[in-house]
């Protein structure tokens, strides 16, 4: 499965458009991490717990989007976009969507 945020790939041509595919994931860290992140806010710096949280979410969202594309029989997802929203305190939603296509 080819995933790209470009819509024209050099040397490849889109044979068939199959429409939008999307993946999303909402995750939360346990309260210990939330408290540690709160403390970390005093000193600044990377909030490792949350970096990890968002990365896990992103991986899962990508995986779900790919499953949708696979189910449609696509071999590439073009023009992929990520969007992040915080639906709740300490929980993050990652949303990823793109065009499922069949490449030549």
């Amino acid at each position: 499965m080819l995933i790209s945020n470009m819509e024209i790939l050099p040397g490849k041509e889109v044979k068939t458009h199959l429409g939008l595919v999307q993946g999303s994931s909402v995750r939360a860290k346990h309260v210990g991490r939330d408290i540690m992140a709160g403390l970390k806010n005093i000193f600044g710096g990377e909030l490792k717990g949350y970096t990890e949280l968002l990365q896990e979410s992103r991986d899962e969202a990508m995986e779900r989007m790919q499953r949708q594309a696979q189910a449609m029989g696509a071999n590439a997802i073009l023009n992929v976009r990520f969007s992040t929203s915080s639906v709740a305190q300490g929980a993050a939603e990652i949303y990823v969507y793109g065009s499922a296509v069949i490449l030549e």
Binding site: T16, G19, Q22, V31, A71, M72
Partner: protein, 277 residues
Amino acid sequence: MKFEHREIPDGINVTDVHPLKELVVLLSGATILIVALVYILGLSAGFMAPYIPFDTEKRLTASFPVEAPADTAVEHYLQQVTDRVVEVMDLPEEIEVTLHYSDGDTVNAFATLGGNVVVFRGLLQKLPNENALAMLLAHEIAHIKHRDPIVSLTRGVTISAALAVLLGFSDLDLMGEAGVYTMLHFSRTMEQQADSEALQAVYTLYGHTHGASDLFDTISAWHKASGNSEGVEFMQSHPLDQKRIKTLSAQATSKHWPQAGETTPLPQRFIDGLKGQ
């Protein structure tokens, strides 16, 4: 451009778990977490608090105004019994017990910070004899001896702070209740230990433990009369009256202390003094 519609299977973006199953899993997980946290904090507070010097504890309460004890027959007699009880209870040197008599109808007595014991007229009027009074005072003094007031304070403060941090993020106030019920476990243990210590004192004073059962029978009778149903033990800070009586009588039996004997009546001027006010 060619477009083809193909069906996307449903439910890829939704995890398939039954909501009720998830509720059960999460609820038990959160309850275990909170109960364990409160239990650990409670234990450590109970362990650390007695190391707070008694002087510091006394200074905490020094700022509160206290009525000067009037020199009436009632207070005189109460002080006399207290002194006798203190003598047999073998208190650590730095601990001092101060008795306060309160002219209120409340059927209660309590021990608080700084070695202060407060007894209310309402409860004193119900006592049948001196043995029961001695048991009552010994129970409160045992709390002082075990440093229970300061332990409870420390425990309460640390646990509520921890729960506030833990649950402050969300509106999970209800989960705090799990913490409160866990805390009650500690206060029940305190009561039991104080009971047992007091029983020992009453035995040393009178050679039998008759006063103990008299005291709890009195309280039990009052509970029933006032319609104050005891409810579920799980939700009470004190062990249930019947259970207390049973535990104490078991203790007396195992130590071969006689449970019946001559009781010392309360002096007439004390009873009159209670009525007169």
